[in-house]
């Protein structure tokens, strides 16, 4: 398969507002794809359609060969989503967040070393991962949003261990520092 994501003529209306107007998309397997556009361009709507959260009014799309409407459940095996807003549970610790995702979607035991590596890759000290709820500032306040974001991405990668696509909406929202951005891109391409 050459393309992981294919979309043709996606249309989505909310009342009189046309959120998406005939979008076509083809994303090559193994690539990192950035969807850019001004506010209100429909980026979030497009990502939500590809993540099976919203049904398009017209057009169709497929992810890894499965239709996002008629085969939504299969598509969800391949996709991971971190929404525009933080989608970790702020009242759980980082580890508990990862455990939750791991439990509702059990990973292969063989993947455990990979999970450990992902957590290690968060560049956080062990006790912080284990004991800190995500909302508690770790050392300085401005670290916090970046930490939350990293847990989100780690959650996605725990869920998506056997290669799959990830849809990251507003990937760099609140990521701190250039190094982390690079890490995310490398992580996605890996």
């Amino acid at each position: 398969m050459t393309y992981s994501i294919m979309a043709e003529g996606l249309v989505k209306r909310y009342g009189d507002t046309v959120a998406l107007d005939r979008i076509d998309l083809a994303v090559r397997t193994g690539s990192v794809f950035g969807l850019l556009g001004p506010n209100g361009a429909g980026k979030t709507t497009a990502v939500r359609i590809l993540a099976t959260l919203v049904r398009p009014d017209r057009g169709h799309a497929s992810v890894c060969g499965y239709d996002v409407v008629s085969q939504a459940h299969q598509v969800r095996h391949f996709t991971g989503l971190t929404g525009q807003y933080a989608s970790v549970d702020e009242t759980l610790t980082g580890t508990e967040n990862l455990m939750l995702i791991g439990r509702v979607r059990p990973a292969n035991p063989a993947d455990v070393p990979a999970v450990v590596a992902i957590v290690a890759g968060l560049s956080l000290a062990e006790p912080e991962v284990r004991n800190t709820t995500v909302t508690v500032p770790v050392s300085q306040e401005d670290v916090l949003p970046g930490v939350m974001r990293r847990f989100e991405h780690a959650g996605i990668r725990v869920a998506e261990l056997n290669l799959r696509g990830s849809s990251l909406d507003e990937v760099f929202l609140s990521l701190t520092g250039h190094r982390t951005e690079t890490e995310v891109l490398e992580g996605s391409a890996a």
């Binding site: 459940h73 969800r76 989503l81 869920a159």
Partner: protein, 266 residues
């Protein structure tokens, strides 16, 4: 690339396991947010103590007599108020995008909803056991009939089932309201009058006629009456059946509406 055939849906066993995991998530939150513990442990005890010792003498003749009358009602009141947590919790998850996160995973569609409800049933059960325990310390005794333990168990089941059914209306509100604060306000505006215009706390004889008429039809009265009948004394069968009819009606009307609103919202 794909070696196994992916199933098109989640099996019932998997769905149940995901429900349990999401219930775990709601319960483990308590560890990090002790304020929540106050919500469903200390608050009911506070209600029980205040009602028994402040109002008890004035309403029931003596704190002890009043406790025998009011404890079943306080259990109903507390269980009903706990369902508000289900609604605000769901609303918070929707608002923060956590539901999007869950629903983009290959898990059962009902799991986020059923996980939350299951966790709240566990909290309710805990609160009921605690109210019975503290009530016992304060002097509450179940009636003398030989099959009382069964009666208490039946009362326990009845209050969980009927308040769960009534909570579908609040779940619907949670799906329609913009944020948890609105759900909270709406819930209180509805639950307070509903509970206080019943015979959960007082006998209705001193109420004006129109209010008595309403109180007789109020589901909170029916559940409270059934609880009294099952745990202490008095008729139980009729109010219990009527409570269950209410429960069935609320579930039939509000559960589909709530699920539909849930699907539209996310």
């Amino acid at each position: 690339m794909i070696t196994t055939v992916l199933s098109a849906r989640v099996g019932p066993v998997q769905g149940l396991r995901q429900t349990l995991s999401l219930a775990w998530r709601t319960l483990v939150q308590i560890k990090h947010n002790p304020a929540e513990l106050i919500d469903f442990s200390i608050q009911p005890v506070m209600f029980l103590l205040l009602f028994t010792y402040v109002f008890g003498g004035a309403i029931g003749g003596s704190p002890h007599k009043y406790l025998m009358f009011a404890l079943p009602g306080i259990i109903v009141q507390n269980s009903l108020f706990t369902t508000l947590n289900t609604a605000t919790g769901l609303s918070t998850d929707l608002e923060k995008g956590f539901f999007d996160r869950l629903r983009s995973l290959a898990i059962a569609r009902f799991a986020p909803l059923s996980g939350r409800i299951l966790a709240d049933i566990a909290k309710q059960a805990w609160a009921v056991i605690m109210l019975l325990g503290i009530g016992y310390i304060l002097g509450f005794r179940v009636g003398a009939a030989p099959n009382r333990p069964l009666g208490v168990l039946a009362a326990f089941g009845l209050v969980l089932v009927s308040t769960l059914a009534l909570s579908w209306a609040l779940v619907l509100v949670a799906m329609l309201a913009a944020n948890p604060e609105k759900v909270q306000i709406f819930g209180f505006v509805v639950l307070f009058p509903l509970t206080f215009t019943s015979d959960a706390f007082v006998r209705t004889a001193s109420m004006p006629g129109w209010l008595q008429a309403w109180s007789k039809a109020n589901p909170v009265s029916l559940i409270s009456d059934a609880m009294r009948g099952l745990m202490v004394s008095g008729p139980a069968a009729r109010p219990a059946v009527e409570s269950l009819l209410y429960a069935a009606a609320f579930t039939i009307v509000f559960a589909p509406l709530a699920v539909r609103a849930f699907k539209r919202r996310v």
